[in-house]
């Protein structure tokens, strides 16, 4: 078991693409950590650099108390599960699981014993003599996991572990992976582009963009208090309402309507400052009657989300979405008022998209 410490890690590809840019991050021992971001944000490169499949251009990678920056992947004592699982098609399940142990030079009985034990833990008994082609997607994933577990690594790395499974299996695998990681207690880093996956599984996550980390935090922190409009946009199954406005005293004027400034933001803004007010649809309560401090609009669209509905209000100059419980949807074309739940409104600076209470950093050219 070991913590992972990245310090000033940079990966520049030949051709000049900075896939990972001066990144510093500590993942404590035993944590289930997600690297989350859109395609091309550098999350997979970061994972591969930790694995040693890519060589860092500068900076260091430490696993536990060892500096592994210049070690080959095989000496880093980690196990990686690839997106396509990378099971060897010409080997049976048991041979696949025991192959890393063979590389490490274990005696045949020893490695078969460990392979069978790892297979049993993931309920693969009965499938051990099959070839990967004869297994379902979920079974293949469990074989890949068993192969990783059997090596007793210090760190697990998962590259998009759920993306090759169909939607229903994905939910089951999510629960399964989380339980497995908790039972084993091994520091685990996984890459995903699916924010719901990261929110559901990870203890903490890093939201990445353009090779940099935009926010690190627990699921709750990242969901409730996105550090920037980028994160706010990216996290959440329904997009956050981001309303441009101008500070006027204790409130923000959004295209003629007034939203109260939250108490903690008041000291960080100046009168007349351009800001963006962010509030999640889940944190807006919708009513059919006028309410003080609420945004008024005309009901334009009602989308059914299952247990709730997403109602989009149109107003002069902006649209705002709010969720309502099923059965309480207002009729299309009627007026409605969306009232922010106290303490859930966030205010971002318009020029750099950061929260108003964040320190101003000089823009990097």
């Amino acid at each position: 078991m070991a913590a992972i410490k990245l310090d000033g890690l940079t990966k520049v590809y030949p051709g000049g693409v900075r896939a990972v840019d001066d990144l510093t991050l500590t993942i404590p021992d035993g944590e289930f950590f997600a690297l989350l971001g859109p395609s091309g944000c550098g999350k997979t490169t970061l994972l591969r650099t930790i694995a040693g499949l890519e060589e860092a251009t500068s900076g260091s990678v430490r696993i536990g108390d060892r500096d592994v920056t210049h070690l080959p992947p095989g000496k880093r004592e980690l196990a990686m599960v690839f997106q396509d699982y990378a099971l060897f098609p010409h080997m049976t399940v048991v041979d696949n699981i025991s192959y890393p142990l063979k590389i490490k030079g274990l005696a045949k009985d020893d490695r078969l014993g460990r392979a069978v034990k790892a297979g049993d833990e993931l309920s693969l008994d009965g499938l051990m003599q099959r070839r990967p082609a004869e297994l379902s997607g979920g079974q293949q994933q469990r074989v890949a996991l068993a192969r990783a577990i059997a090596t007793h690594p210090q760190v697990f790395l998962f590259d998009e572990p759920l993306s090759n499974l169909d939607a229903r299996l994905r939910l089951a695998a999510r629960t399964f992976l989380k339980r497995l990681q908790r039972d084993l207690g091994v520091t685990t880093v996984f890459v995903t582009h699916d924010q719901a996956e990261a929110l559901a599984m990870a203890d903490r996550m890093a939201v990445m963009d353009a090779g940099r980390i935009r926010q690190v935090g627990t699921a709750r922190e990242v969901f409730q208090r996105p550090a920037s409009t980028f994160v706010a946009n990216f996290i959440g199954s329904t997009p956050m309402n981001l309303l441009s406005g101008v500070v006027r005293g204790q409130a923000v004027n959004v295209s003629g309507q007034i939203v109260q400034l939250p108490g903690d933001a008041r000291q960080h803004v100046t009168d007349g400052q351009d800001v963006v007010v962010g509030v999640r649809p889940e944190y807006l309560s919708l009513s059919q009657s006028a309410a003080d401090g609420a945004l008024r609009g005309v009901v334009a669209i009602v989308e059914n989300l299952g247990t709730a509905s997403l109602v989009t209000l149109e107003s002069d100059g902006f649209t705002v979405a709010a969720t309502v419980a099923d059965g309480e949807e207002p009729a299309i074309g009627t007026d409605a008022w969306a009232l922010p739940i106290p303490g859930r409104t966030l205010v971002y600076r318009r020029e750099d998209g950061e929260l108003v209470d964040a320190p101003v950093v000089a823009a990097v050219a």
Partner: protein
């Protein structure tokens, strides 16, 4: 079915039958004539005898020449498979500028500049190297001729091996050699088998290169020996030629059936995982 369809169907089958018979005649000749007391160029019901075989065995070069063919074919196959596999692997994995142009040039040149056209310079080269009348020389020349196409075909197989297989093995600590031996080679085994068989068939039937490079009659392969089966009068000795042709064909057919059953022939890459 209308009468018109019926007649059409009959006509179609008659046509197919004629075409099949046309192509089957040489095969039937090859199978029948060696057992005929009076071998001729016409196809006839054989007057059964095994006399032709004993006459062939009296020729002291006949069986050794088949062994020579085996030596040349296996030697070339080993070289071609080993070099083509490693070359194709690196060409598939390393991105160098102009790689695809290089591959197409190799293929193009090797199919345009055939052995016949290049025979004089090749002969001179072998002469300078002191490899005239040496099996090694023949194997080298044949390998050189077959390698470009073999590399081209195998690169396609190598391209189809997912990189994640190798990376996965690397994370487990496997060395480059272990990756090649344990992961890459088993996955592309059908490709290697195809290349090996294709090489053997090519060498087996090659007349010109061993004919020119080998002097010693004890080293000549079966394809070269075939030309010596004439009677004193200068007429082809059909008894010997047909019998030897049959013996000459059997090993290749058997090998083809064996490899096809064991690995299956494929000229393209692709993984069924």
């Amino acid at each position: 079915m209308t009468p018109r369809d019926f007649v059409g169907r009959i006509g179609f089958y008659v046509l197919i039958g004629l075409v099949t018979a046309f192509f089957a005649l040489p095969m039937l000749w090859l199978v029948g004539t060696p057992f005929d007391e009076q071998p001729g160029l016409a196809l006839s019901v054989p007057d059964p005898t095994l006399g032709n075989f004993s006459e062939l065995l009296d020729n002291r070069f006949a069986l050794p020449s088949l062994l020579n063919s085996v030596l040349l074919a296996l030697g070339t196959a080993v070289l071609v498979v080993a070099f083509a596999a490693t070359a194709a692997y690196s060409l598939s994995r390393v991105r160098i500028p102009g790689r695809d142009v290089l591959l197409y040039l190799l293929l193009l040149l090797s199919s345009i500049v055939t052995g016949t056209a290049a025979m004089v310079p090749i002969f001179l080269l072998m002469f300078e190297l002191g490899l005239i009348d040496s099996r090694v020389g023949v194997v080298l020349v044949l390998s050189g001729g077959l390698l470009p196409a073999a590399i081209f075909i195998l690169k396609d197989f190598m391209d189809s091996v997912p990189k994640s297989y190798e990376e996965s093995a690397r994370v487990f600590g496997a060395s480059a050699f272990q990756i090649l031996r344990d992961v890459v080679v088993p996955v592309i085994r059908p490709g290697l088998a195809t290349i090996a068989v294709w090489t053997i068939v090519n060498v087996w039937g090659n007349f010109l290169v061993p004919f020119i490079l080998l002097r010693d009659a004890d080293k000549q392969p079966a394809a070269v020996l075939m030309r010596t089966f004439y009677t004193e009068g200068g007429a082809p000795n059909l008894a010997l030629i047909s019998t030897f042709s049959l013996l000459f064909s059997i090993p290749v057919v058997v090998m083809y059936l064996f490899v096809n059953r064991k690995y299956g022939f494929r000229f393209y890459g692709g993984i069924k995982s």
